[in-house]
């Protein structure tokens, strides 16, 4: 992406992910932000739809830890976690989902359209599969310009059955584009279980048709995610082409805010919660002596306070002015209704 990088809190948050405690902190933050967004919805502060990613935090943070901020990331409408992981501040997410000027898209995008160009996040894609070819194109630009930047497409298992998935993988393979395709397989495409829509158990198998590595990854373990992404990115930067990583994960909530997920078999959610990504990583930090249980507990309390403050700050932010909606339709659009047309 062609955005000039200067000192920016988003970049600082991104760089912080080099430290194990920051990784833990970010996953907790994502969980708490999602819980608060659910609360904001219940209190009537959200319009339209919203899609929560609780349970999938390790994928978000693992990807963010291994990608550079100059790499381009396309991501789905279940994107709050990815935006936070890549560097967007909680107030930027709260502000956007509540349609405030402080939101990361100025309140013009909403929950499904978070963006943070400075840390490589394209406006998140609300059309299933649409982001895959675009990521391939960002990789094409890197290849033509001769940089060693790469692109990452993050998408759900539902995207693996749309043409754009196959077209993008094929294109990336024949042109050896520096792109990593990351499928968050959370077992449900919207309301429908994957077995009803997809004949293969491991979507990573599909990489074989495009002669690229296809790797099944434990999406609940942030270290394993980060390592897999790093390996694929290194391959991409060496000019050896794309990879498909399938992150086995689970979304704790339904598809969207109106979905109570009654279609799930009894016990499935509970079984996945036993492999909670935050618990897995927290236990590792305690075991290797990075932090004590008490330290993690007080860190969680601290994050909760910060998240609450961010939500309050967002709610105190005004909605964008009327003129804002006329800006940025075309280059040079004016803040009046006549913008863009002679």
């Amino acid at each position: 992406m062609t955005v000039n990088a200067t000192t920016d809190p988003q970049l600082e948050r991104r760089e912080a992910l080099g430290k194990p405690l920051a990784i833990y902190e970010r996953m907790v933050e994502i969980r708490l932000v999602e819980e608060r967004i659910q609360g904001l919805y219940e209190q009537g502060h959200l319009r339209g739809s919203t899609h929560l990613c609780s349970g999938q935090e390790a994928v978000c943070v693992g990807v963010a830890r291994s990608a550079r901020s100059t790499d381009t990331v396309s991501c789905t409408y279940r994107g709050h976690g990815m935006a936070l992981a890549l560097g967007v501040e909680p107030v930027g997410v709260f502000g956007e989902v509540t349609g405030r000027v402080i939101g990361c898209a100025g309140g013009l995008g909403g929950s499904m359209h978070l963006s943070a160009e400075r840390v490589g996040l394209l406006p998140t894609f609300a059309i299933v599969g649409a982001g895959l070819p675009v990521a391939a194109g960002a990789a094409l630009a890197a290849q033509v310009k001769g940089t060693d930047d790469a692109a990452i497409a993050v998408f759900g298992d539902g995207s693996a059955n749309i043409g754009a998935f196959h077209e993008a993988l094929n294109l990336a393979a024949i042109w050896k584009l520096p792109v990593v395709f990351i499928c968050e397989n959370n077992l449900y495409g919207e309301y429908t279980r994957i077995q009803l829509t997809t004949p293969v158990e491991d979507l990573a198998q599909r990489a074989g048709s495009y002669d690229m590595p296809g790797v099944v990854v434990d999406g609940q373990d942030v270290d394993i995610v980060a390592q897999a992404v790093e390996t694929a990115l290194e391959r991409a930067r060496r000019g050896e082409g794309p990879s498909l990583l399938e992150m086995k994960t689970y979304r704790y909530s339904g598809h969207s805010r109106s979905d109570a997920a009654t279609y799930r078999p009894p016990g499935e959610l509970e079984a996945w919660k036993k492999r909670d990504p935050i618990d897995i990583y927290g236990a590792r930090l305690i075991k290797d002596g990075t932090a004590s249980e008490d330290e993690l507990a007080s860190l969680r309390a601290e994050i909760k306070t910060r998240v609450e403050e961010a939500a309050d700050k967002a709610l105190a932010s005004p909605e964008p002015g009327i003129g804002e909606m006329f800006l940025h339709v075309f280059a040079g659009s004016a803040s009046t209704g006549s913008g863009g047309r002679s």
């Binding site: 062609t2 898209a105 059309i127 649409a130 070819p133 094409l140 630009a141 294109l171 047309r341 002679s342």
Partner: protein, 333 residues
């Protein structure tokens, strides 16, 4: 000034922009090794190499989406859609992704993407390869749309489109690829987007047209007992309201000639705007001369009847002028 066929003018525009700007790349089906189905990219591969001139698989959503991503990332991709209908399978990337990127990024991202597409009827390609489809694109804020009517503006509009920071679709009427004229190349030959071209001057009526209907309208004007301002709109989004309004304010009559179905055709926007702005000043109702609301027929006789001809346009305009009323289209008589 070189005499170029329209396909050669397109090629010259691509060559000139690629020479001047290393970020311009060209993608599409059969455009590199084979030089394009209509030979509008012949020789570019040899001159600019495989990094910048790429044959794609038959995956319109894939390569158009990739062009969007490349455009966001600092390149200026020019995509060839062999037939405009093929955009149907890639429409999401254009209408829902490319057209929204600047908006959703609050101006941080630009999509300097050009989609060239051959379009239109007249050559017997049948109903799935003969449409214009301007109506698919013109109502999406964030997209620009230009239509070539001959070698000169095929050259000049394409160069402007490539330089434009926003996504632009350029439709090239397929039946005109072989037409030849003197073409001014270089900066002087560039045609700005959003500016119409006065083809002929007259007193009695303003005829607005696009693409291959420009030649039809000009021929019609030479057949009648009246004189016309024939205006080639050249760009449909944004369209040149001022040139059209100034002309109609003088002639007091507006006829739009469209290679488009009557229902929903782009001329409705022109007639509505002008009719509203000049209410009370017009000497006759606005008139649209269009195709019927049917798919494009294959038979040569039927296809020729389907398209507005110069004689038919002249007849419709003549009747409008003599009666002051809107004539019925031929298929309703």
């Amino acid at each position: 000034m070189p005499k170029l066929r329209m396909r050669q003018a397109v090629l010259q525009a691509l060559d000139d922009e690629m020479t001047e700007d290393a970020s311009v790349i060209v993608l599409g089906e059969d455009i590199a090794v084979a030089g394009g189905a209509f030979k509008a990219t012949e020789g570019l591969l040899d001159k600019f190499g495989p990094l910048r001139v790429r044959d794609t698989p038959i995956s319109e959503m894939g390569f158009l989406g990739a062009a969007v991503g490349a455009a966001i990332s600092g390149l200026k991709p020019v995509v060839e859609m062999m037939y405009v209908e093929f955009l149907g399978v890639a429409l999401d990337e254009l209408v829902t992704e490319a057209a929204k990127m600047r908006y959703l990024s609050r101006g941080a991202l630009s999509v300097p993407l050009v989609v060239r597409a051959s379009a239109g009827a007249g050559l017997g390609f049948g109903c799935q390869h003969s449409q214009m489809l301007e109506q698919w694109f013109r109502a999406t804020p964030g997209l620009k749309l230009a239509v070539a009517s001959g070698p000169q503006n095929a050259y000049g509009l394409l160069r402007s489109a490539i330089r434009d920071p926003d996504p632009v679709i350029v439709l090239e009427p397929r039946s005109l690829y072989g037409d030849r004229e003197d073409v001014e190349t270089g900066e002087g030959g560039i045609v700005p987007l959003g500016v119409a071209r006065r083809v002929s001057e007259g007193e009695d009526v303003t005829i607005v047209a696009l693409g291959q209907m420009v030649g039809v309208a000009a021929d019609a004007a030479s057949l009648g007992q009246w004189t016309a301002d024939v205006i080639d709109l050249q760009t449909l989004v944004p369209w040149d309201r001022k040139t059209v309004l100034d002309s109609v304010a003088r002639t007091r009559r507006l006829v739009v000639v469209e290679e488009a179905p009557y229902s929903g055709g782009w001329g409705t926007e022109i007639t509505d705007h002008v009719g509203g702005e000049l209410f009370g000043q017009l000497a006759a109702p606005t008139l649209r001369v269009t195709t019927p609301d049917i798919p494009v027929p294959y038979s040569g006789t039927l296809e020729a009847r389907f398209l507005p001809s110069a004689a038919y346009v002249a007849e419709q305009v003549g009747e409008l002028l003599s009666t002051g009323r809107r004539p019925r289209p031929w298929w309703e008589r």
